[in-house]
């Protein structure tokens, strides 16, 4: 092709792929980053779904602006100063609303991440990298440090943990927020509890397990009750299952740290899946944080340069399900009145990676309508990000706050009491906002609500 532009040598290392995605798996097929970003024709149809654009009205922090700035930096038109695009890239929520609105499904979030990786150069962000290294190499120590934080709280030294900047030091800002917002940090992590559950052990000669529960970091380290509810729900509707004994899915490393770590997490989970499959036959891998399940569904993209792993990743990805799509509404009936009374007026917030990332919109609504009937109301702008977006509330506190206020205002506008969500980051964020702006309502994880509404009544 007789190209008008030269691609900046800064991006040459894309060919090597170690620290980057060698290519993107887009809706239109496998594309180089440059081809993927050039697919943006600047039509602007994504602008009205981009929360940061809608709140600021500024093109550079819109989806189209971000794609264009990454493209210009690749074409060397940023005057060599890729840092100029820093704000544009850092303020992206990675919510993916733009890609869903886009006719060509330009993968803005992946493009932004590649832009961030390029802007950061070969050394990715230190803290998240250290953190994921820790989780990979010394999971025991990682858990110990978290427990230390919890202990500090329990022993009446909550401020100390904050002042020590323990979480901040770890780069796990949401945990710091959790430290403030979550009532209790569990002293026993979910993995420990589930490992001890005899029903989740494979019994020789028993029925073949249909599913394996994947414990994302949120439920594992913070919201063990969510994970327990998910497991109870899956047992109730899908029969025999197992605990996956998983690693972190790697999303944190993918978004904020070292992509090599993300690959390592992925490999470990894929291997684990293959072992389970070998032993028990086909089974679904079900997780209850939409960000994680959405990421795992795209594992293949991490390995486009490694044919063998690529195929294995694709097989794994095909088995992944989000807990919010796993339980069919057809298996449900109207919930008992007492259970509904506890929940009050129910609404549903589409976690970004559920609706934009995985296209899950129908399933949870059908289930909630079946269960709650008229007690279910639609939330205006339900598929707008809440501003949680992983570590966003820490990295972009001001923007995150503005986005959150819009969310809580929408929740208040339908006078909801219970907001069902699919991601643990949303849970943290929305509850923090509601506590301040609209304390009457509470966000709960979708599986927790479903578990409560479908619990058999004691006779």
């Amino acid at each position: 092709m007789n190209s008008k532009y030269d691609v900046n040598e800064m991006y040459d290392r894309h060919a090597e792929g170690e620290l980057h995605l060698p290519s993107l798996l887009t809706h239109l097929g496998e594309r180089s980053l440059y081809d993927a970003v050039s697919q943006c024709s600047r039509c602007g149809y994504c602008e009205t779904v981009c929360p940061t654009y809608m709140l600021t009205g500024r093109e550079p922090i819109s989806a189209r602006g971000r794609n264009q700035l990454v493209r210009m930096s690749m074409e060397g038109r940023l005057g060599g100063a890729a840092a100029a695009a820093g704000e544009a890239l850092d303020t992206c929520l990675l919510c993916g609303a733009c890609s869903e609105a886009c006719f060509a499904k330009v993968p803005t979030a992946d493009i932004v991440l590649e832009g961030r990786r390029a802007a950061l150069g070969p050394a990715p962000r230190l803290i998240p990298s250290l953190l994921s290294r820790l989780m990979l190499d010394r999971p025991g120590l990682f858990g110990f440090l978290l427990r230390l934080g919890a202990l500090a709280r329990l022993t009446g030294l909550p401020r100390l943990a904050g002042k020590l900047g323990l979480f901040r030091m770890l780069g796990l800002a949401p945990l710091e927020k959790a430290e403030r917002e979550a009532p209790r940090m569990p002293f026993t992590f979910l993995a420990g509890k589930l490992s001890a559950d005899p029903e989740l052990a494979a019994a020789p000669g028993g029925p073949a397990p249909a599913w394996a529960y994947f414990a994302p970091c949120g439920p594992n380290y913070l919201f063990t009750a969510v994970g327990e509810a998910t497991v109870a729900l899956l047992k109730r509707f899908l029969g025999k299952g197992l605990f996956f004994h998983n690693n972190c899915c790697g999303l944190l490393a993918y978004n904020y740290g070292d992509i090599r770590h993300a690959r390592e997490f992925a490999r470990r989970n894929i291997k684990k899946y293959e072992e389970l499959k070998e032993k028990h036959g086909e089974l679904k891998v079900i997780g209850d944080c939409s960000s994680c399940t959405a990421f795992m569904k795209t594992y293949e993209q991490l390995f486009t340069a490694e044919p063998e792993w690529r195929a294995r990743a694709a097989a794994f990805a095909a088995a992944v399900r989000d807990a919010i799509e796993a339980v069919p509404s057809t298996a449900m009936t109207h919930a008992p009145r007492e259970a509904l009374a506890g929940a009050g007026r129910i609404t549903y917030h589409d976690s970004c990676r559920a609706c934009h990332g995985q296209g899950i919109r129908k399933e949870p609504r059908e289930a909630l309508r079946t269960l709650a009937g008229k007690n279910f109301v639609e939330l205006p702008e339900s598929d707008w990000c809440c501003g949680g977006a992983g570590a966003y509330s820490f990295t972009q506190p001001e923007m995150s706050e503005r986005i959150l206020r819009r969310k809580t205002a929408n929740i208040a506008s339908v006078r909801a009491d219970t907001v069902a969500v699919g991601g643990t980051s949303c849970l943290l964020q929305i509850n923090a906002g509601l506590k301040r702006d609209y304390p009457r309502a509470k966000a709960v994880h979708y599986t927790q609500l479903l578990e409560r509404l479908t619990r058999p009544t004691a006779k």
């Binding site: 600047r42 602007g44 602008e47 009205g57 500024r58 700035l69 100029a84 704000e87």
Partner: protein
């Protein structure tokens, strides 16, 4: 360097007015405002986010004083490079001005700020059971301000008109920073008409009053397939000619259909074109009758299949084929050039065939989408802008398509605007006379050339002469009148343009008997007592007086120039009495959708005695005071090429130029709605500052009806 210096010192003032956080000069901001949805590129020097409508005027005043170019920008979805700052300067980002100020369903008016997203307005209106007709394809993101800047259309404009037909009033900040309140009801030259579609080159709209309508009770949708584009267009023509005005009449060719995977329609191999017909109204029975008629027209034109949607979900499925075409093409390649030409409706099949040939000559791929009901065609050419050679071919093909549209009697833009990308094509559509007139209009309102400079009007190469001849030969009376004007201009003789209403009578007693006699004539002009004798131009002059000038009788302009039934347009000379116009149309089975008025057509236009005339007028032939003849507008029902001077001339009272002939949209006999005759005299007119400046653009020596601007 120069540009930096230009803003030096101004930045601080900009911050003071706009707010500290609203002025952006970082490289990323500059680059992000150096593009829009077209392919042109230019860097601004700064971007100012305007968070209150009241700040626009002081900001503009400041920039005007400092001599810094500026332009308003909203969603940046325009396809002609209209929001790219060719001379740098400041971009005024108005997108935060997104308040719907009021919705008054009783009066049928919505008052909105420019940043309101079209679809958002529709959603709010729908809650009250109303809608705002213009519905451009980008309505999900494009804004009312942008729609006004480009005079946007959409499928519904076939029945309900384009933006200019649906705006009742505007608050505009002029390039000098003055705020104007304009209404279509104002007397004098129609200023809203001039500002709409001026692409930010004449001023900035900060508030708009829009006409809103109750949602129709019933909508019926059908899809029919045809073995050729030609046969589909035949069906369109006979449907329209029968007087059925669908709310949408959209066509697409096989390539678009294939790209969209057939859009879920089961199409036979023989299908080469598909037509989507949508009717609306409040009477189900009426609609069913019209649908049955449409079906029989389709069958007569050779349709292969005709399917009506049984319910809302089926209706959506039928639309998916049309609405899915652009997205599908956008997936086939990184870029889609959405060309936008318009031709008289009956020429659509020929236009389609020529476009096809051009596309294949240049070895390109394109889907053809048509707003078939109004002769507007959108070839969607796919390409990769990174491929310089392919991009050149696309550009050349685009130019040839526009030339073809011109040759077929059409125009270079139906609804996307000229911006920078079609500037060159303006040379092919217009003669030097019109381009110079456009320049003078721009200069009159923006003498420093700061408001979105270098847009719409070609900056060079204005020597190219128009290739097409007028579609009618000029009758002797008009030629004589033109030479008379030339003669008078050369001798500085002022003229009193006759054949007008009594109100334009000079107030001075020198008017004499002739004037008193005319005062007894009907409100909207009338045949003057004195008929000119063509061989004796001097004989036209009577009642000469220094203040009011010599009479210039235009009642000799009495020919019916063209009745173009298939296109539903008709062209008359300005002196044709309205009763003659009516009977001429009636003889052709047509009528003009206007109240039954007396006087001449030219008089009606010049006095705007019935304001609705501004929406019927498609084209004008205008003689300037020096005898230069300008052809404005044309016979295509959609046209946004250049300033809308046809509308501006409505209410001009003969002081801007002498209207020689006018083209109107007409409808089949018996299909026009009933109109109330406007009663009472037209209110007196006293020109505003803007009217005066425009007067200088048209008539610098004040030769025509001089007392009005005396």
């Amino acid at each position: 360097m120069f540009r930096k210096d230009r803003l030096h010192g101004t930045l601080e003032d900009l911050r003071r007015i706009a707010g500290e956080d609203n002025v952006f000069t970082a490289e990323a901001d500059i680059l992000a405002y150096s593009y829009d949805a077209g392919s042109a590129r230019a860097r601004p020097d700064a971007v100012v986010r305007v968070d209150s409508a009241e700040k626009v005027a002081p900001l503009v005043k400041l920039l005007h004083g400092a001599g810094v170019p500026f332009l308003p920008r909203l969603a940046g979805t325009n396809l002609s490079g209209g929001t790219v700052p060719l001379k740098g300067g400041v971009i005024l980002n108005l997108s935060p001005l997104n308040r719907i100020r009021s919705i008054d369903t009783a009066a049928g008016i919505a008052v909105v700020e420019p940043g309101v997203v079209n679809l958002k307005l529709q959603e709010e209106l729908a809650k009250a059971g109303f809608f705002y007709p213009p519905d451009p394809a980008s309505q999900r993101v494009c804004t009312i301000g942008g729609n006004i800047g480009e005079n946007a259309g959409g499928p519904l404009c076939l029945k309900y008109g384009v933006t200019a037909d649906n705006v009742l009033g505007l608050t505009v900040v002029t390039p000098q920073g003055e705020t104007l309140e304009l209404s279509v009801e104002d007397t004098g030259p129609d200023l809203p008409g001039l500002f709409i579609g001026s692409e930010g080159t004449l001023g900035i709209v900060i508030c708009a009053r829009l006409r809103i309508l109750p949602l129709p009770r019933h909508i019926m949708t059908a899809v029919c397939s045809f073995p050729s584009v030609d046969s589909a267009m035949k069906a369109v023509a006979s449907t329209i000619a029968a007087g059925t005005v669908p709310r949408a009449l959209e066509a697409m060719d096989r390539t678009s259909l294939d790209a969209a995977g057939g859009g879920g329609l089961r199409l036979s191999d023989a299908t080469q074109a598909v037509l989507i017909v949508e009717l609306d109204g409040n009477s189900r029975r009426e609609l069913e009758k019209e649908m049955a008629e449409t079906r029989s027209f389709a069958a007569a034109a050779g349709s292969l299949d005709f399917r009506e949607a049984a319910d809302e979900s089926e209706r959506e499925a039928l639309w998916a084929a049309r609405k899915g075409a652009y997205p599908a093409l956008a997936r086939l390649a990184p870029n889609v050039m959405v060309e936008d030409g318009a031709v008289p409706r009956p020429k659509l099949p020929e236009a389609a065939a020529r476009v096809r040939a051009i596309i294949s000559d240049y070895k390109l791929t394109a889907g053809l989408l048509f707003h078939a009901g109004d002769g507007n065609l959108h070839p969607n050419v796919i390409y990769d802008e990174r491929d310089a050679e392919e991009t050149r071919r696309v550009r050349k093909a685009g130019h040839e398509i526009l030339r073809a549209c011109i040759e077929l009697g059409g125009t270079i833009s139906g609804e996307h605007g000229v911006g920078v990308e079609k500037r060159l094509a303006m040379n092919w559509l217009y003669d030097r006379a019109e381009l110079d007139l456009f320049s003078r209009v721009k200069e009159a309102l923006d003498p420093k050339d700061l408001a979105n400079p270098d847009k719409i009007i070609p900056v060079s190469d204005r020597h190219a002469r128009r290739k097409t001849e007028p579609f009618h030969s000029r009758p002797a009376a008009a030629s004589n009148l033109v030479s008379e004007l030339k003669y008078r201009a050369a001798h500085g003789i002022k003229s009193r343009v006759r054949g007008l209403g009594t109100r334009t009578r000079p107030p001075s007693p020198e008017g004499g008997d002739a004037c008193r006699n005319r005062a007894a004539l009907p409100a909207v002009g009338g045949r003057a007592a004195l008929r000119p004798t063509p061989d004796e131009p001097e004989a036209r002059c009577s009642a000469t007086s220094p203040a009011s000038g010599r009479d210039l009788d235009v009642s000799g302009l009495d020919s019916v120039l063209e009745i173009y039934g298939e296109n539903l347009t008709a062209t008359f000379e300005a002196g044709v009495p309205l009763h003659v116009l009516r009977s001429a149309l009636k003889a052709a089975g047509l009528e003009a959708p206007m109240p039954k008025l007396d006087g001449t057509l030219g008089g009606l236009i010049a006095t705007k005695a019935w304001t609705g005339i501004r929406d019927l007028l498609l084209g004008l032939e205008l003689a300037l005071p020096d005898g230069t003849v300008c052809r404005l507008g044309g016979r295509s029902v959609k046209n946004v090429a250049g300033y809308d001077l046809t509308r501006l001339l409505c209410g001009s009272l003969g002081a801007y130029g002498v209207i020689l002939s006018a083209t109107l949209r007409v409808c089949p006999a018996g299909r026009a709605p009933r109109f109330h005759r406007p009663d009472g005299p037209v209110p007196a007119f006293s020109p505003s500052e803007v009217h005066r400046r425009l007067k200088k653009a048209f008539d610098p020596d004040n030769l025509l009806n001089p007392w009005i601007y005396g």
